[in-house]
């Protein structure tokens, strides 16, 4: 009977708030991520890291949520929970855990070095793979959760302020202060409902481990905090924290406004070396057929069917050309006649494609004709209609890139229809480098490059990235793209864009619409 009552109460409280579990390790994205790097290709600043410590059930996650809510328009915020970092347990430890005889509240239960290394990766704008811990099984699972690209990171946990290595990573340290009896009450409701524990077990665990842990390890860390927040009625404190965070972020981005789109276009004098002399910019050797293909693709009178057919032919040739820059090693094989033949073999450990949506996928059919057995990831980058800066809206990268150790041995063929302002190219290369892909393992394959566009800035920032293109267009000028009337754009508002001349028109539109 008492259990039933408890459950009903919990249902009531849950209706009022989002389920607790969904609040941990969540990456919240709004409006896309603007450039976080300068024209030199380097990161402008690290992510802003907030550490939130405090007793168990003191309301740390709630505080973290409230901070996120108050930050509002910040592009990407990640909440990283200490619960993910419980150590991998031996069978004996698991047995103890099921008998509630394992001390989960001791600092030693947490894999602090891993916590710190995940956090350090995220702070430095790198990807990380967060371990997944199951409370039902009392064990760290085989799977991990990939995380990348947060501007603000909130690390929360009872020991969040305990480890000096972790503390050194925080830009702001918060301690959530709450009365012990309130924490116990919250703990009972949560553990019964969400972790399937019995009341007796919870109380025994509380007295045996939680309380001493709080007194010995958690409460003392309040001394390290920059700000102490009450566990309830804390809206003023939240307001202070979010205002401080917003100001910090503002100061960082003001110190170095990325304006690469326009900087290189308005400074043609910077172009002192012809592109043809760049050893890492490969222009497809000109042939009568290639000239003929480009003539068809450039003509405004070419119909859809022809445009698609010749685009596929061109992308096949480009990808074939690009593959000669992969690593090969000698290999001897036996032919069906029993004769030895000395040849070569591709030795790239991992190979994948990444296409920049939408127009990059116009190269995918050609890519698949040449490489049929590798993953192809995607990056959705759109230019902001206000200032032309690129916005990262979505990324789905191949598995070998998601893990740092394999990313370092991965060759990536990046696909996009053209390099005009170079903004999307710049952002996608930056993303791959942050994942650990080596510059000289990236081959950017594209139909057209604008001589006076962003290619100069791109080459200067990433000189070892290879670019394979069909041809170079000499001119780049400001144009106007008519907007489509429809959802979200009732009046068909157009936008200013940079167009290449002679160019191939809007390649994505011509290939897909």
């Amino acid at each position: 009977m008492s259990q039933l009552l408890l459950r009903e109460e919990l249902d009531e409280s849950q209706r009022a708030s989002v389920p607790l579990k969904a609040q941990k390790n969540t990456l919240l994205i709004s409006h896309g991520r603007p450039p976080w790097y300068g024209p030199d290709g380097k990161c402008i600043s690290d992510a802003f890291v907030i550490g939130v410590g405090g007793g168990s059930a003191s309301g740390k996650t709630h505080v973290a949520r409230q901070i996120v809510k108050a930050l509002g328009s910040i592009p990407t915020v990640l909440i990283l929970s200490q619960d993910s970092f419980y150590k991998y347990h031996s069978p004996e430890e698991i047995e103890l855990a099921f008998e509630s005889k394992f001390d989960f509240d001791h600092p030693d239960a947490i894999d602090m070095p891993m916590f710190a290394s995940c956090l350090a990766d995220l702070k430095a704008c790198r990807q990380t793979n967060i371990p997944v811990y199951s409370f039902a099984e009392h064990q760290r699972l085989q799977e991990t959760k990939y995380a990348y690209g947060a501007t603000v990171i909130i690390a929360e946990g009872i020991m969040a302020l305990h480890d000096p290595a972790l503390r050194s990573l925080y830009d702001l340290k918060v301690f959530v202060q709450c009365d012990s009896d309130l924490m116990l009450a919250r703990r009972i409701t949560r553990d019964v409902k969400e972790r399937g524990r019995s009341l007796e077990g919870i109380l025994e665990q509380y007295l045996r481990y939680v309380k001493p842990s709080y007194d010995n390890f958690v409460r003392p860390t309040a001394a390290f905090a920059d700000i102490i927040v009450p566990g309830q009625n804390n809206s003023v404190a939240i307001e202070l924290i979010s205002t401080h965070t917003r100001r910090q972020l503002q100061e960082r981005s003001n110190s170095f406004r990325p304006k690469m789109v326009t900087s290189s276009l308005h400074a043609p004098s910077l172009v002192n070396e012809p592109l043809e002399n760049d050893p890492n910019l490969m222009i497809l050797p000109s042939t009568p057929q290639l000239e003929g293909i480009f003539t068809i693709l450039r003509s405004k009178d070419t119909n859809n069917q022809d445009f698609i057919f010749f685009t596929d032919r061109l992308s096949t040739l480009l990808v074939e050309h690009a593959l000669q820059f992969l690593p090969y090693a000698p290999l001897t094989v036996t032919t069906p006649l029993g004769v030895k033949s000395h040849g070569k073999k591709l030795i790239s450990k991992y190979l994948c494609g990444v296409s920049i949506l939408r127009s990059g996928s116009a190269l995918e059919r050609g890519f698949r004709r040449v490489i049929n057995d590798v993953p192809v990831g995607t990056l959705l980058i759109q230019s902001n209609s206000m200032d032309g800066e690129p916005l990262l809206l979505h990324l789905k990268l191949p598995v070998s890139v998601r893990h740092r150790s394999s990313a370092e041995e991965t060759w990536v063929i990046l696909l996009d229809a053209q390099i005009g302002t170079g903004a999307a190219a710049f952002m996608s290369i930056r993303i791959l480098l942050e994942h650990g892909v080596k510059q000289d393992h990236i081959i950017f394959v594209t139909f057209l490059v604008a001589r006076t566009g962003g290619i100069t800035t791109l080459r200067r920032a990433f000189p070892h990235v290879r670019v394979v293109c069909g041809t170079v267009d000499n001119e780049m000028r400001e144009g106007w793209l008519e907007g489509d009337r429809g959802e979200g754009n009732e009046d068909g508002v157009g936008r200013k864009i940079w167009v290449m001349n002679p160019g191939m028109g809007q390649i994505g539109d011509r290939y897909y619409l």
């Binding site: 009568p288 450039r298 003509s299 096949t316 040739l317 000669q324 090969y328 033949s341 070569k344």
Partner: protein, 237 residues
């Protein structure tokens, strides 16, 4: 790349490194693909007797596509001016002249898919040539061509050029059907130096596009190291 739109001259005979051919010189009418490590890797896969049929198909198709692309570069183009979507004028080139493919059965058929990927809905004639058991000479058993073949450029398809016997016979048949010698382009994956020499001495004005020139022929007139029987591996094994 000629961005100013002036038509580019057709490719020049390849400056082939002589390591691939046993007697050094390559006839001037013979063109090969750029001998890159990547191309070598493709050949290594299709030469390997342990390569699966799926891989054999995929990688031989890749080579065939490159060969057809190279072959098409020997067709004439004319200056052509177009208007781009941005409204400016571009002086490029337009393709000139009708083409058709002719495959020597049965292995030559393997190259048709690659041809059609590059030349959409191109017409393809067929020709069956086998050795006459009495005379031991290649003999025409069957042929079927587009009616207007005499007015077309012909891409002759056969994956292996060993002695050159059947290829020479096929060209004879084409010329009997009114196709001039210099309008035929012979495309193959692997050729023997002996076969190439015999063939291009007989037809010096006929262009040959070959992917790789091997060491030579064995006593059974198979190309060494070669890749075995192309048609057999493609269709039957």
């Amino acid at each position: 790349m000629s961005t100013n739109g002036v038509p580019v001259p057709p490719p020049q005979p390849s400056l082939l490194k002589t390591t691939a051919s046993s007697n050094g010189t390559v006839p001037p009418s013979v063109f090969t693909l750029p001998q890159t490590a990547q191309l070598e890797a493709l050949y290594t896969i299709i030469r390997d007797k342990d390569t699966s049929r799926g891989d054999f198909l995929f990688y031989s198709d890749r080579i065939i596509r490159l060969l057809v692309e190279e072959g098409l570069n020997h067709l004439p183009v004319v200056k052509k001016t177009v208007t781009t979507p941005t409204g400016s004028t571009y002086v490029g080139v337009g393709f000139e002249g009708k083409i058709c493919g002719v495959s020597i059965l049965r292995a030559g058929e393997a190259m048709e898919a690659g041809l059609r990927e590059v030349c959409r809905s191109v017409r393809i004639g067929k020709i069956l040539i086998q050795r006459d058991e009495e005379t031991m000479q290649p003999k025409l058993f069957y042929s079927k061509f587009p009616q207007d073949i005499a007015k077309r450029y012909v891409l002759l398809l056969d994956p292996m050029l060993a002695t050159g016997g059947s290829a020479i016979k096929a060209v004879d048949v084409l010329m009997e059907n009114g196709v001039p010698e210099d309008r035929i382009i012979f495309i193959n994956l692997i050729s023997s130096p002996e076969g190439l020499r015999t063939f291009s001495e007989k037809f010096p004005r006929l262009k040959v596009i070959t992917g790789w020139i091997d060491q030579g022929l064995n006593e059974k007139a198979y190309i060494i190291p070669g890749l075995g029987d192309f048609g057999e591996r493609r269709y039957c094994e």
